[in-house]
């Protein structure tokens, strides 16, 4: 059985899945940047003391699951979302979705995801894909980061739906109400809500290690890494920062380019001319993240390594923090028409 579903490749898995699941009912209007922006996807967070893969826990995007949830919320679309204790029930539920003609989003872990290149298989459990059919024992998979559709056997799919460790998916499945309709006016309101959400998330979040303040915080930490960890370990930490920023799924520049693209699309629906200028600032921020990544690569490839080089890296982040603070403050101050 194969549902009528068009695969579309995207940069980031969750915003890609969200836009694909909403495409039909929105009449093709919900693009990936719109899903990312309405879902208030842009974030920065450096959780102290916690280690991921023996390196710092740094994220450039919001908590997994929130983009889909917020986007549907803002558009007023009811959502079905379920987790399972039993693998049998999880598969039965998926089968029922397919029987009812609904492509379903699934949260999966990538470690045992067979079509992924080995180099990308870490125990990362917040990947998302869409199941849109089944032929014999093979589920038909639309994985947003892949160029084409792919398949997983029922065992392979079960294994990744029940991956273990941090953020274990527990068979999580979700889909929007496909009878809903999305009008341009709904879209406009959702865009404004998404921007306000993102402003709060970046400017008002308490604590010093998240939001725009978090970027500076990480910059200050980096300056101390060389003495505290030794050159090699400090280099590995920087490599981890760059991976979180540029790796598969970010669209480049730690999601800053996707967000800039979102603001351009938001302009079409809201006619707020400020958005175009602010979009430029996010492009600059993305460029600066990339400049910092090139500098970091100099350190982990061994071309650079003095304390001065680490200070420079920290200063880059401080500069980015200021830039993004300015951008979000301008977003906050928009008088919406």
């Amino acid at each position: 059985m194969k549902l009528d579903f068009e695969h579309r490749q995207s940069a980031h898995c969750e915003s890609g899945v969200t836009s694909s699941l909403l495409r039909k009912i929105s009449g093709n209007k919900i693009t990936e940047p719109l899903a990312f922006g309405i879902g208030a996807g842009l974030f920065f967070c450096h959780i102290p003391l916690i280690k991921i893969n023996n390196g710092p826990a740094i994220a450039f995007r919001t908590f997994p699951g929130l983009i889909f949830k917020r986007t549907c919320n803002a558009l007023g679309i009811p959502v079905v979302r379920k987790k399972f204790g039993s693998k049998t029930n999880a598969e039965a539920f998926l089968q029922r979705c397919l029987d009812e003609g609904k492509p379903a989003g699934c949260q999966v872990g990538v470690y045992y995801l067979s079509y992924f290149p080995k180099e990308y298989r870490f125990h990362f459990n917040a990947h998302n894909l869409i199941v849109y059919g089944k032929e014999d024992d093979n589920y038909l998979i639309s994985d947003p980061v892949m160029e084409t559709t792919t398949t997983l056997t029922s065992y392979e799919l079960e294994r990744v739906r029940f991956a273990k460790g941090a953020l274990a998916p527990k068979g999580q499945i979700y889909y929007p109400d496909t009878t809903a309709k999305i009008t341009d006016e709904q879209l406009r309101k959702a865009i404004i809500k998404g921007i306000k959400n993102n402003v709060n998330q970046m400017l008002r979040i308490p604590g010093n290690f998240a939001g725009v303040k978090g970027i500076k915080y990480t910059g200050e930490k980096i300056k101390k890494w060389r003495d505290k960890l030794g050159l090699q370990k400090a280099g590995s930490y920087l490599a981890q920062l760059v991976r979180m920023q540029e790796e598969i799924g970010t669209g480049g520049g730690g999601f800053r380019y996707i967000y800039a693209a979102f603001l351009q699309e938001a302009h079409v629906y809201t006619q707020q001319d400020e958005l175009l200028e602010i979009s430029n600032i996010f492009t600059q921020a993305g460029d600066l993240w990339r400049t910092a990544a090139v500098h970091a690569a100099g350190i982990y490839k061994g071309r650079l390594g003095s304390q001065e080089d680490f200070n420079q890296m920290g200063d880059y982040l401080a500069e980015i923090g200021e830039l993004e603070k300015a951008a979000f403050t301008q977003l906050k101050n928009i008088k919406w028409k």
Binding site: Q9, S10, A11, P33, N53, N54, G55, Y111, Y112, Y115, F116, P117, K118, E119, Y120, F122, H123, V145, M146, E147, T148, K164, G165, A168, G235, S236, A239, Q240, V242, R243, E246, E247, I248, G251, G252, Y257, I258, A260, A261, Q264, S279, N280, T283, R290, A293, V294, A296, A297, Y300, K301
Partner: protein
């Protein structure tokens, strides 16, 4: 738009967002970027070193083959506990060679399943994957 062939580029190109000559955002496909390929290499080199160290420790009789497979599968005791249903303290016990040797076939099978290997291979630190 960087086009340096990386590990993913061999399997699939990835979507990136970039501005065209008029400043409008468009999506483009990228094969990868040297800076991030290098970052990924750093991570895997570290993993390789950890695996080698673990292997030596098992050969020296300081740890059971579990240690080797935990490093090989990038699992800490927490993840392994979730996959097997054992408590972390049990796993720490099973990391001792003399305790590991006395484990029943049934218990070994749980580890073998978690690591996606056969029990025989689990005992001998054999991996068949490239």
């Amino acid at each position: 738009m960087p086009q340096d062939l990386g590990a993913l580029g061999k399997i699939t190109k990835e979507v990136c967002y970039a501005t065209d000559s008029s400043g409008k955002y468009v999506t483009e496909l990228s094969n990868g970027w040297k800076v991030k390929t290098d970052a990924l290499d750093v991570a895997w080199k570290e993993v390789e070193e950890r695996i080698a160290t673990a292997k030596q420790r098992v050969l020296n009789g300081e740890a059971s083959p579990l240690l080797f497979f935990m490093e090989y599968r990038l699992m800490d005791p927490g993840i392994l506990a979730d996959y097997t249903g054992y408590w972390k303290w049990q796993i720490k016990r099973h990391l001792k060679p003399e305790v590991f040797k006395r484990l029943s076939q049934r218990k070994l099978q749980k580890y073998a399943d978690a690591f996606n290997v056969k029990v025989e291979d689990l005992k001998t630190m054999t991996v068949h994957e490239a």
